[in-house]
């Protein structure tokens, strides 16, 4: 057995390709759902943390700190294997999306908060002096400026969520990694794993490139 027939076995790869691609679809579904839910949750948490009554601010800060500290794998296993004991039984897909969203929202909240806090105080004062409501101040004045600042770190966070979807394989989710390990077992050859690694690379490398471009562009300032 030479190197090529072991790791880059073409017949094995072609044979397992449909399985890998169906896994890719699941990975992308988990990733995009978690990213969108995390963005919405994170924006809500950020604004709550900045402007809600003090008690709620403290609770939100606690949430953010806890979910940035807990290892995602641990959280996922708790959601999938422990919650059924209290009657909450989530499908593998929902378990993965729930765990990823809870953590992504915490990180996203911190990114949004930093973005909002980077807007000069004069922008808030000018809005207040014009009689704009808090909602209009946020929607028309602050967030459009904050978005420019937070796009690079947000894209970075999206990459992390996409990568972390691979953890879903431990709760029997037929994602890209799970399909690859099954194909490997079936064909007694590691080529499908190499194939999966390459697919992850093809999926994420462009995003990494985009982040680098964005960071360069926005660090130059306006």
């Amino acid at each position: 057995m030479d190197l090529f027939s072991t790791f880059f076995n073409m017949p094995v790869l072609l044979n397992s390709l449909p399985q890998l691609l169906s896994g890719l679809l699941v990975t992308v579904q988990i990733g995009i759902t978690s990213i969108i839910c995390g963005l919405i949750g994170g924006l809500f948490l950020a604004i709550t943390r900045l402007y809600a009554p003090t008690i709620i601010q403290v609770l939100v800060r606690g949430y953010i700190d806890i979910f940035r500290s807990i290892p995602l794998l641990v959280l996922l296993i708790v959601v999938y294997y422990a919650l059924p004991f209290v009657g909450i039984r989530l499908s593998p897909f929902l378990s993965a999306v729930t765990a990823l969203t809870l953590v992504s929202a915490a990180y996203t909240a911190e990114i949004f908060r930093a973005g909002i806090e980077a807007i000069p105080h004069g922008q808030f004062e000018a809005s207040a002096a014009l009689g704009l409501s808090n909602r209009h101040t946020m929607v028309d004045v602050i967030l459009p400026q904050a978005i420019r600042i937070v796009i690079p770190p947000l894209t970075n966070n999206c990459i992390n969520v996409m990568k972390d979807t691979a953890l879903a394989s431990v709760v029997a989710m037929p994602d890209l990694l799970k399909q690859a390990t099954q194909a490997q077992a079936l064909s007694a050859n590691p080529t499908p794993l190499i194939g999966a690694a390459l697919i992850y690379l093809i999926l994420l490398w462009p995003m990494v490139y985009v982040v680098a471009r964005l960071e360069k562009r926005y660090s130059r300032g306006r």
Partner: protein, 245 residues
């Protein structure tokens, strides 16, 4: 009691440090008041209290057009009637000049886009920058930006205009164009309260000049009286320091 702005016993502290020591002031409708004084005298804080950008002590009272300036719904009503021009312009950098002027009428007064735009163009013309309407603030000079800021404040058709050192951040050659716009506004019926270091402007335009020092109003009166015949020693020494180099 028909003064447009009523300030009674205005006190304000930052922690232990008291910035305003119980100021009483009445400003009539259409009056142009210039507030002068050394830096740290509390003059900016005074006008920032009028639309409550700065909170003040509970025992103090400010009313604009009879509406108490207290937190809550009434505050939005006061702020809609009171325009403000800042030292650092504070234009919205992500909007064109035209949108900067249109935003508040659309959001607060619920003007249609058409009405807001028509009015914005009239105002930009009035402050002499109609050609820059579609540019972004960063592409304008400081003097032009400040004139946009004045147009933005005027778009809400305010009864009161507050100016917080409007020319202090400008290059010297741009001060004149902003002061010219403000001179044209004086006497149009809008009440103006102006914190400024431009003594020539204050003498020429103000109905009343207020000299502040150490968080107190030391002296107030017509410009001729304050500038030519100050009664208080502190006023004299301040004017001496700024006028005779």
């Amino acid at each position: 009691m028909s003064a447009q702005i009523n300030i009674h016993n205005l006190k304000k502290s930052y922690g232990e440090f008291q910035v305003l020591h119980g100021i009483d002031l009445e400003i009539a409708q259409g009056e142009v008041v210039c507030v002068i004084g050394p830096s740290g005298s509390g003059k900016s804080t005074l006008i920032r209290c009028i639309n409550r950008l700065e909170a003040f002590d509970d025992e103090s009272e400010i009313a604009v057009d009879g509406i108490a300036v207290v937190p809550g719904r009434a505050l939005a009503a006061v702020r809609a009637e009171v325009g403000m021009v800042f030292q650092s312009f504070n234009l919205f950098p992500h909007m064109t000049v035209l949108r900067n002027v249109m935003l508040a009428p659309m959001r607060v007064r619920h003007s249609s886009v058409k009405d807001a735009e028509a009015r914005a163009r009239v105002l930009l013309d009035r402050v002499g920058i109609s050609e820059q309407a579609d540019k972004y603030p960063e592409n304008l000079s400081g003097g032009q930006q400040q004139r946009v800021a004045i147009a933005r404040a005027l778009a809400m058709e305010p009864k009161v205009l507050l100016f917080d050192e409007p020319t202090s951040a400008l290059d010297p050659e741009m001060v004149g164009e902003v002061l010219d716009v403000m001179k044209k506004l004086a006497g149009t019926g809008v009440t103006m309260v102006i914190v400024t270091h431009e003594m020539g402007f204050a003498r020429q335009v103000a109905d009343r000049v207020i000299f502040m020092d150490g968080g107190n109003v030391i002296e107030a009166g017509p410009p001729a009286e304050i500038f030519d015949n100050p009664k208080e020693e502190r006023t004299r020494s301040f004017l001496h320091a700024v006028l005779d180099h």
